[in-house]
């Protein structure tokens, strides 16, 4: 295997050796792994991109509330603000990113079709961040795919070194991982170097270490959808920092190691069981009661 990697260190070495960006290493890794032509790998990623686009498109127009009535319609509210940016502190890019991320989160909560990139709970961050930024710099579809491949490469390193399962690692493994991945993907779309991409990923992930999974009633709605929206802001911020040549003092692989260690000491009550944190607040208990869980 010429393009195999499990850590950021190995990935960066491959980038250097072949003088290629992360996205192309990821693409070649996959082609080699499945013994399929690069074109097939690209086509598969395009399907993911199109499915994400559909979820965004549907979500920003939808008023539909979920069965619990906890969420729904916020993507539309946010998207409307694009006509009223004076009212906002963030700019067009960040407000749109939050609208898109919310759109995907709301579709997901309503059993609509989304792409679990890397998981369904964190599925809003990558389309939110990458689509909104791509629109801003009029990036072609090709560039968007590059961002997606780079994001996936970072996700793979997290899956190898820690986990992407909230049941094992809490929300740091879902939204945290997604933000880290989006930060790297965005940085490559901005022509950042592979090192800068990894620094962006590290800075983003560090901000999410220890985040617990405590969804109300065990449903992927509250706080999940809003965590996705706000995650885009961190991803964009981390990418900006990396482009400004701010570096993570702790290498990415060590951050992933820390995430793994935290996952191991995190109480099971805070790992997708809805037995701790926000899930057992007064409001959380009310929801549980309503759902007949207690």
């Amino acid at each position: 295997m010429k393009y195999s990697f499990k850590t950021a260190e190995q990935l960066l070495k491959l980038c250097k050796k072949h003088n290629l960006p992360i996205s192309l290493i990821a693409k070649r890794y996959e082609a080699e792994r499945c013994d399929k032509p690069i074109a097939t790998v690209r086509r598969k990623m395009k399907q993911a991109r199109d499915a994400m686009y559909e979820a965004v498109r549907k979500g920003i127009k939808s008023d539909e509330k979920t069965e619990t009535k906890m969420t729904g319609g916020d993507a539309k509210n946010l998207f409307k603000q694009l006509n009223n940016l004076r009212n906002m502190m963030g700019n067009k890019v960040t407000v749109r990113a939050m609208a898109y991320a919310t759109a995907v989160g709301e579709q997901n909560a309503n059993m609509g079709r989304i792409v679990a990139f890397p998981t369904a709970g964190g599925a809003g961050v990558i389309p939110g961040t990458l689509f909104s930024c791509a629109e801003h710099f009029h990036a072609g579809k090709r560039k968007l795919l590059r961002g997606m491949f780079t994001s996936a490469a970072i996700g793979l390193i997290i899956a190898e070194g820690a986990t992407l399962s909230a049941a094992k690692g809490g929300c740091q493994a879902e939204v945290g991982a997604a933000v880290s991945m989006a930060a790297a993907g965005l940085t490559e779309m901005r022509n950042g170097t592979p090192e800068q991409c990894v620094h962006a990923a590290a800075m983003a992930l560090k901000s999410y270490l220890g985040l617990v999974c405590d969804p109300l009633g065990g449903l992927v709605e509250v706080p999940c959808i809003k965590r996705n929206a706000l995650g885009c802001m961190v991803a964009i911020g981390a990418s900006d920092m990396a482009i400004a040549e701010v570096e993570s003092y702790i290498p990415f692989d060590e951050v992933v190691g820390a995430m793994k260690e935290i996952a191991e000491i995190m109480s099971p009550k805070l790992r997708e069981t809805a037995l701790g944190g926000l899930a057992v607040t007064k409001t959380g208990i009310e929801i549980k009661r309503k759902l007949g869980l207690i």
């Binding site: 499945c34 996936a152 996700g155 065990g218």
Partner: protein, 226 residues
């Protein structure tokens, strides 16, 4: 080599709300259906850990059942799988159960029945829609549902190395290479999981392999969505 595909991370394309509790559950159901090899008349699901705590809100139940009916993870009919199962005359039951501390928190034990035939399959959803089948009847196995160039052939047979040799010959005749074999034994029976490289194995081809003496069944897990 990393065990993960880029598309284990950038995917699956799925119906929400949870990759581990909905898409992963659907995939475990698909594997169970493929191993059982027919539509069961009755399925009982024992839900462990987080699966047991929060299955309702994540539609884990609907997704498991949808998988047993061969629906893909992106099939929006998952939402109505209870009704569809009723139409098809499949009886189903969900029971919360502690399957032991060794199990991954997202684990389900399924008992599939059809007349006299019965099979017990335990599977875990290990994150991002990736799954692992950890037990089939009494055999502890490790069958990972990740996208890749290998396909798995699950063979139940008597404790006799000759059988694998014969099987190898048949596979070779079909132009297939065995990349890896993992076997577990229990009471004079062996379950082998073969990783195969090459083309897909058709149902008649698998049936033909079942004619080898001492072989109970052969299941080619090729049509599972990844």
């Amino acid at each position: 080599m990393s065990t993960h595909s880029i598309f284990d991370i950038a995917g699956p394309i799925m119906v929400g709300p949870s990759s581990s509790h909905t898409a992963g559950a659907c995939k475990i159901g698909q594997y169970a259906r493929a191993l059982f090899h027919k539509t069961p008349k009755k399925v009982t699901f024992y839900l462990h850990g987080s699966f047991g705590e929060v299955y309702k809100g994540h539609a884990t139940d609907r997704a498991l059942l949808a998988g047993v009916m061969k629906f893909r993870t992106s099939d929006t009919r998952i939402k109505t799988s209870f009704d569809i199962a009723k139409e098809k005359g499949i009886a189903y039951k969900f029971i919360k159960k502690d399957l032991g501390a060794k199990c991954h928190p997202n684990t389900v034990k399924m008992v599939l029945e059809s007349g006299k035939e019965k099979m017990t399959i335990t599977g875990s959803s290990i994150g991002g829609g990736m799954i692992e089948i950890v037990k089939l009847n009494n055999f502890e196995i490790s069958l990972k549902g990740v996208a890749g160039k290998y396909l798995s052939l699950v063979v139940s047979h008597d404790d006799n190395p000759e059988i694998i040799v014969k099987l190898g010959k048949k596979l070779k005749a079909l132009g297939l290479k065995i990349a890896n074999i993992e076997s577990t034994s229990y009471k004079k029976k062996t379950l082998s999981v073969l990783s195969i490289e090459g083309k897909r194995i058709t149902i008649p081809e698998a049936k033909e392999m079942e004619t080898i003496e001492g072989v109970d069944f052969v299941r080619a897990l090729t049509k599972i969505d990844n």
